[in-house]
Structure formats: C-alpha cells, structure tokens
Symmetry: C2
Subunit: 294 residues, 2 copies
DNA sequence: TCGAATGAATAAGTTTTACTTATGCAATGT
DNA sequence: ACATTGCATAAGTAAAACTTATTCATTCGA
C-alpha cells in the first residue's frame, strides 16, 4: 500500500501533461532539476518507470499514462472544489429570513461584530411576516424556523433548542413567584399570533384543563408580547435565549419558583444548491457559532 | 486561485473524517500538535474556518464539510489508482503472442535481461501458428502483429516499422550484388507461408510484371526461409530488425547494391481491460523500450 | 565534420516545510 | 478541588523541496 508524497504527484502530473520536465518546471515555477529529481524519486518509490527518456523528448510508459489519468482527475477535483469554495468573490448579498423576535432579540446584537469581520458580505435580515405567502420564501438564502420534526433534508441543520417558560414583568408579580401550575389560573395571559398552541401545550404538560386557559390579549409577535408584559398586561410564554436580555436586566422574571418549561427546536436551512457558495456558508457557520455559545 | 499544499489537505481530510485532531494524528502517524498547526495554516491560507472547536470535540463548518466531500473524493481516487497500478502482486503470468520469427529472432535474445530485472514475472512467449484458430487468441495478454491500417483501438500501439528487403546467403551470390530489379528474374525465390503477397508487392513497387515472379520453394515461416536461404535455395524477403544478427554475421547479405525495400508496421495490442495491470504494463513498456532502440 | 543547441541527469548545498517536544488553556466529570 | 481531555502555541529539529552548477548524449545546422 504505497502512498507517495502528494507534492511529488503534482509534479508528475505536470510533467505528464507537458511531456517535458522543463515545461513542467516552468508551469510549477521550480527548476528542471527539481522536476527530474522528484520524478526519479517517485519512480524509485513506486518501482516502475513512468517515463521513457528519449533524447530531448519524453514519452509516458503505459503505466505512466494510466497513472496520469487518475492523478490528473484527482488533482482537477481538488482544484475545482477549492475554487468553488474559496475563490475571491465580489461583494455579495446574503439574505437570512427569520421571525422578528429572532431577528431583533438574537441576531441584531451580533450583526456589528459580523460585519466587522466580513465587511464584503452584505448581510440582510428579513423577518417572517405572518401574512407572508410562500412565493416570498424562496428568495432567502438561509431561513431560520421552528420545527417539531426529527429529520429534515440535507440542507437543514439544528440550530438551538429554545426554552419556553412563563414570564411577566417583575412589578406585576409583587415579588411573589407562583408555586404550582394551578396558580396561573388567577392571572391574565398574553397569547402570541402564530404560537397559539404554546399555552395549550403548557396546560397539557403540567396537568391543567385546557378549557380553563385564561383569556387575554393577543400580540402580533413576541416583540409585542414583551411590550404588553412590561406594561403589566399579563404572563406570556417567553422563549430563551431570545428574551435573555430582559431576564438579565430584571425587567422580566420567570413566573414560577421552579422551572416549568417547554422546549422548541430551531433549525436553519440553506436553500438548495447554495452549500458551495462561500459567503452563504460563512453566514451559516456564523449562525451555528453564536447558537453554540447559548 | 488558491492552491493549498497537498500534504496539508491530506491532514485536513483525516481530521474531518475523524472529527478529532488527535485521532487524525494517530491515523497519519504524526503528533496532534502537527495536525493542529497544519489546520490553522490551512484555515489562514483559505481565509475560512473549516472546523468549530467545541470543548474536547470538533465539528465541521458548512464550508469545511463541503470541502471535505471534495477532498476525500480526490484523495480516494489517488489511493485507488496507486493501488491498482503499484500494489505488490504475487507471481504472475504474462503471455505475449507473436510470430515465431519475432519470438526467436527478436524477443528471445532479450528475455534473459528481462527476467533478471523482473524475476517475479513469468513471461511466456506464444508463437502464432498459421493454423491457429481465433479462439486461442484471446488468452494472450499482449499480441504483436503486422497491420497496414492507420488507426486502431485505444489498446493498440505502434511498435516498430520493419524494413523488408531481398536477402540471400553470401555464398549463393558469388560476391556479386544485383544492380537492377530485373536481375531478380534469373534467381530462385523463397516464398513464406502467410506472407505470399510480399513478393507481389515488391514486384509491383519496383516496376516488374507480377506474372513473372519466379517460382521457388515455400517455407512455413521466416525461420525456415532463413534456413533455406543459408542452404543456397534462393532469395527471400527478409524483415529487419529480425534478421539483423544474420546480416551482421555475414551469413545473409542484401541482394541489391542499393536498397530496394518495402516496409511493414508492427503493432502491439494489450487486451481490453488490462491497462491497469502492473505486470502487463511492465512487459508492454519493455517491448516499447527494445523497439525504440532499433 | 565540428560546434551549437537542447533537455534530462546528477551532486552538493541552501531553503522551506513538516514535524516534535514541552507546555498552556479551558471545559467537564468525579 | 483535582484529574482528565483535547486543542493551541512556541521553540527547536528533521526531512523534503528546491537551487546552482555541471555533465552527458543526441540532434541539427553551417
């Protein structure tokens, strides 16, 4: 099982392509003597002649020609994949689509650092609108979404698992945290459009009768729900890490003494065919990186 | 247009495959520090992160994963072609089939040198028999034959061009060489089975009436023709380089004062699918090599 | 026929790449 | 609190890659 040095194979391929050690040397920007010595080493290592040295001329042996075919193919593959992934590309727009809360609460604080690091990438965040129709979705390069499914296509990766927990403003609780799930029944709750079944799941999970879900205002998005909660309008199911800044500042607090949480899985999908686009991959990697720090 | 060092790509592929610098180091029989440094160099050169360093764990970035696909494929191709052509193989029979004159006059003197150089190759020469049926031809690995065609399939290569010239024993000419083609008419000629049209072509080429081709004995092969000529039975059309030993020893001489020659092209065919067989390629290369010295 | 041109081979030396050793750092587990 | 794990880093060593100078052998052209 022989494994010749790869650098020498590059030299062999150039010599075989040119049928000239001198021309290969020019191609590789080295001297003819270096080519000659490397080919000799390779032939000695492999135990076979690869070239016939005719006067002032070179021809490949059968073995050499067969080997050149394979080596050329492999090196060409390397060049192609390297160029696809790492060529210097012009300024390029990358569109990430997600909910407004993910955009504003999670991505927004990180965007400055991203742009400082990748000034040539025009990163554009587009928020999902609950009224958006499907025809708009396909123009995003990367989409962040929630899913309860276990498997997805090859372009979709798990991003993070959100912890969903009842939160309210610290003022509305008078410093008294609730003890048991039933204590929620005496409070107003805030519903979020598009996430109506969160409360349903929460009541079911903690053994309450879903027919008794308190009525309360409905917010258009998590952002409005936060706003309403801060105004004292009730309890909403907040998603960490997106609301972490509010929890850390103390403006919002968890309602119960102990964690009574649900979970939701967030995924990131790169649209088909874009895995070889360098800039999209950079954004994708960046998203994975900040998610890993949560 | 970036062209990373190939050795570093080998390290990258191992690290990506194992998702561990330490395991890659074991695989490549180098240290973890070497792996770490090479990956850092590669990332710096390409301008992209290929791995996410999680604690005591490694994951590939999207870019890294896409690159690994391509690099793995290319390196695998190199390994495969190298193994196919250069693996240490057991003792193997290689069969070369050709005419008896090529076998005895041309190959035979070279066989000892070949076997000294390649002791593990069991080179077997099989002669073409004029009565051989086609079913026997396919068991030879390499076949040497004459052809007037300009192009052949990809497994056939030109070997040498034979010079065909009238020769006889030096005694039968009483040291007097013939001057013009017509002088042949007063002599006996020797015909060779399977090559009957050589004299026909010679008469046509040099402006003689083919109806006047002298009759004479017919030999079964060039070897018998040489034998008959040495016995003084006439002139035959000899093929160089096969009869060169006789010309050099003076036992045979060219009949005319100046060259009145025909030519015949000899080719060598490797049977389909055998170009990746190392030993057959070695024999094939050897044949090309001795042909090149003629 | 002789000298020039050409292009691969070789030896000795220099430069660059690849690698090692020793150590540091940070997260995790007991 | 300490041990384990596995990547990162700095400094030094070893090996590969390369250069320069020269030789060799063939072919071509005057």
């Amino acid at each position: 099982m022989k494994r010749p040095r790869l650098n020498v194979l590059r030299t062999f391929e150039a010599a075989g392509r040119h049928l000239s050690f001198s021309k290969a040397a020019v191609d590789l920007n080295i001297t003819q003597a270096a080519v000659s010595q490397q080919i000799r080493q390779l032939e000695s290592y492999l135990g076979a002649r690869l070239f016939l040295r005719l006067h002032r001329r070179l021809s490949l042996t059968s073995t050499g020609a067969a080997y050149l075919d394979g080596v050329h193919e492999a090196l060409d593959r390397l060049n192609t994949i390297t160029d696809q992934l790492f060529s210097d590309r012009p300024h390029q727009v990358v569109v990430v689509r997600c909910t407004s809360s993910v955009a504003l609460l999670w991505l927004s604080p990180q965007i400055r650092a991203f742009k400082a690091k990748h000034p040539y990438i025009d990163l554009q965040i587009r928020t999902l609108d609950t009224n958006a129709d499907a025809s708009q979705l396909h123009i995003a390069d990367i989409e962040i979404f929630v899913s309860g499914k276990a498997d997805h296509d090859q372009f979709t990766k798990p991003l993070l698992t959100s912890v969903i927990t009842p939160v309210a403003s610290s003022n509305s609780l008078d410093q008294k945290h609730l003890s048991i799930p039933q204590d929620i029944l005496g409070l107003d709750v805030i519903h979020i459009l598009g996430y109506e079944d969160d409360w349903h799941r929460w009541f079911q999970t903690f053994g309450l009768d879903t027919a008794q879900i308190p009525s309360g205002m409905t917010a258009d998005s998590s952002l409005f729900a936060i706003d309403a909660a801060l105004r004292g309008e009730g309890v909403f199911l907040g998603r960490r890490p997106f609301i972490d800044a509010y929890l850390q500042s103390g403006e919002l607090v968890e309602v119960f003494k102990r964690p009574l949480n649900l979970h939701a899985s967030y995924f990131m999908r790169q649209h088909g065919g874009s895995t070889n686009n360098r800039n999209i991959n950079i954004v994708s990697d960046w998203l994975l990186e900040i998610a890993a720090t949560e």
